[in-house]
């Protein structure tokens, strides 16, 4: 049996580059104005998986993502960097899922991919920063968890030794496999795309994407079945619909408020010598500094 690593990845709006047009007039977020990217720490997670694949003979890296149809983009991106295949969990029934409902759906998909040795994800996604889905998925799979992984020290078919990044230091832990790992941003950055893999996987598509293609891919896909990115719906996962989406999410958004800045009576001054000197004089006189 080959060593199987499942990487959990998410496509996220790039909240780090929120521009002025990111908010609509009614105060809601204009997702269309934000580019969709591979969640940064999930790239660290992918690298960790690929590094293990480099070390072990007979190891496969499978990328699993949940999201709308276009989230298949990050599966292809992962393939270009070294992932063997990917699955997209997508269904309208997942809409509105909080972290609990999300981890339920993901855990069902991971179970479908058993037997596996490692489930690796980024510590958190930049659109929510909750860092909850990794541990919650681990709990649903009844796996031990290693959070904030920075480096793999040792791995074989039975055990893994991982260095973790904590607030004020590091900790090295040894765990039996299978285990769930979440990866910290201080872990090595992901390798770039590899030209050979880009050529190999550039026609990889989901069934939904193939329907939108004008070209006929039937023959190509018969010759190269690895190009198929599978889509799994709630039915494919035999999910309890009550545990998905809004109904499966115990957290509800009661209220969303636009941020209103409490205006202070700000004094605007220039960078001229005199202005700076007067300000410094005042700060020193009131003993705020000095």
């Amino acid at each position: 049996m080959s060593f199987r690593i499942i990487v959990l990845a998410k496509q996220v709006p790039d909240t780090r580059n929120v521009g002025k047009n990111a908010m609509k007039a009614d105060g809601t977020v204009n997702r269309a104005a934000l580019p969709a990217i591979f969640n940064p720490e999930d790239l660290n997670a992918l690298e960790m998986a690929l590094k293990i694949k480099d070390q072990l003979a007979d190891c496969e890296v499978i990328v699993l993502t949940m999201g709308p149809f276009r989230a298949a983009e990050i599966i292809r991106e992962a393939m270009y960097r070294g992932a063997d295949r990917g699955y997209l969990i997508t269904d309208r029934k997942f809409a509105g899922s909080d972290t609990l409902a999300t981890s339920y759906a993901i855990s069902l998909a991971v179970k479908k991919l058993a037997p596996y040795h490692l489930v690796i994800s980024g510590r958190q996604a930049i659109d929510g920063d909750t860092a909850q889905v990794g541990p919650q998925t681990a709990e649903k799979l009844q796996l031990p968890q290693i959070t904030y992984a920075e480096d793999i020290i040792e791995v074989d078919k039975k055990h893994i030794v991982v260095k973790r990044r904590l607030e004020h230091g590091t900790e090295t832990v040894k765990a039996p496999l299978p285990v769930a790992i979440t990866v910290h941003s201080s872990a090595p950055a992901c390798r770039q795309r590899i030209a050979k893999l880009l050529m190999k996987f550039k026609h990889a598509r989901t069934v939904t994407e193939l329907q939108d293609e004008t070209k006929d891919y039937t023959e190509l896909y018969t010759q190269r079945p690895y190009l198929q990115i599978d889509e799994w719906t709630a039915d494919d996962l035999h999910a309890d619909v009550g545990m998905l989406g809004l109904s499966g999410s115990p957290t509800k958004v009661k209220k969303i408020e636009n941020v209103v800045f409490a205006h202070k009576d700000s004094k605007v001054i220039s960078a001229a010598d005199e202005d700076i000197e007067n300000l410094m004089k005042e700060l020193m006189a009131s003993h705020v500094i000095g």
Partner: protein
């Protein structure tokens, strides 16, 4: 003293307390106890603390002063340092028996490891990195149901452009994590006395709970002490480079201040993560906060808007930070900071 119409089935508030290497209770946990005590008074319920570790004798004395009615204490040499599975099993054991109304955790490497695991096992809602917690009601239009005395879990969301109030109407406990420094640590009553409930650790834990072993540990006391600094010079993305950040260090040196950073500056590699101020970093309340090249996203403001005095240095007069600044200096930091240093050096004794 409490509203008689209040449902009688409101349960107690629990705080998971972290233990430090010095066998004291972590500041973030004491802050949560202070907040928990207020919420418990609002609801007319008890405040309970969970302490798991080894050599815990004596911690109850400090905990009582924060108004803790009941301390659930689990002591065993295998329980320190923290590992996920045994701590989770012990907390779940308590929660399943006591059915907390609210459960609070520090948004620390420990709290963010254990809280989601517990929420998943109990199938209840969890809100990360709350900046405010309040008690309030909710009317659900869809089901025409009125919910009394819910925990409002308030946090900035989506790049700081919005503030969201999250509730968990149906599930218990209502769980939240809060960063260190967000709540205020306040002694409730120096003479307050609660009681300790010891947990029979061996009856709860199995050998498999210890399958993850710590084989090495390097914890350093942080050299960076922003949280308690009186004056903070903080830089944002607008500082422009790691080199320009040196100017902030120079000014901090001269003023005896600490250097902080916005998340954008940390993400850009201008500053280390330990200096990040804001919702997902440290919350500070200095006498003076000098924001250099910081635009002022809500997440950042959540970590500094209680500063006594704020000075902004920004080339953009429309930067949101200027609206909460006492003084907004419109200019470049490479121009302004050297002038500040020069004046201070020339005029300080």
């Amino acid at each position: 003293m409490y509203n008689h119409l209040m449902p009688v089935n409101v349960n107690n508030i629990f705080v998971y307390c972290e233990v430090t290497d010095d066998k004291t209770i972590a500041d973030v946990s004491l802050e949560l106890l202070s907040k928990g005590r207020k919420l418990a008074n609002d609801l007319g319920v008890k405040l309970e603390a969970i302490v798991i570790g080894n050599e815990l004798a004596g911690v109850e004395k400090e905990l009582y002063t924060y108004g803790v009615d009941v301390i659930h204490m689990a002591e065993d040499d295998r329980l320190y340092p923290y590992t996920t599975l045994p701590h989770t099993a012990l907390v779940l054991n308590i929660f399943n028996a006591e059915k907390p109304e609210i459960a609070l955790f520090g948004a620390t490497s420990i709290g963010r490891d254990i809280a989601p695991r517990i929420a998943s096992a109990m199938r209840c809602g969890l809100t990360a990195d709350c900046t405010s917690l309040e008690i309030g009601d909710h009317f659900e239009n869809k089901t025409q149901t009125e919910y009394k005395n819910l925990l409002y879990q308030i946090r900035p969301a989506f790049g700081g452009n919005i503030i969201a109030t999250i509730i968990n109407p149906e599930t218990r406990p209502q769980m939240a994590t809060v960063r260190e420094g967000v709540m205020k640590k306040e002694i409730y009553d120096a003479k307050f006395k609660g009681k300790v409930k010891k947990i029979a650790v061996n009856s709860v834990l199995k050998d498999e709970d210890f399958c993850v072993q710590i084989i090495d540990r390097h914890i350093e006391a942080s050299k960076i002490n922003i949280k308690n600094a009186q004056v903070i010079i903080a830089g944002g993305y607008g500082v422009g480079s790691r080199e320009n950040f040196q100017l902030l260090y120079e000014l901090a040196d001269v003023l005896g201040a600490q250097v902080g950073a916005s998340r954008a500056a940390v993400d850009a590699g201008f500053s280390e993560h330990e200096r990040q101020i804001g919702q997902t970093g440290i919350t500070v309340r200095p006498k003076l906060y000098i924001a250099c090249g910081i635009s002022g996203a809500v997440q950042h403001r959540a970590g500094m808007d209680q500063s006594a005095q704020i000075i902004s240095i920004n080339s953009d007069i429309n930067a949101p930070i200027n609206q909460i600044a006492d003084y907004a200096i419109i200019g470049n930091i490479t121009d302004v900071i050297p002038k500040m240093i020069k004046y201070y050096k020339a005029n300080s004794k």
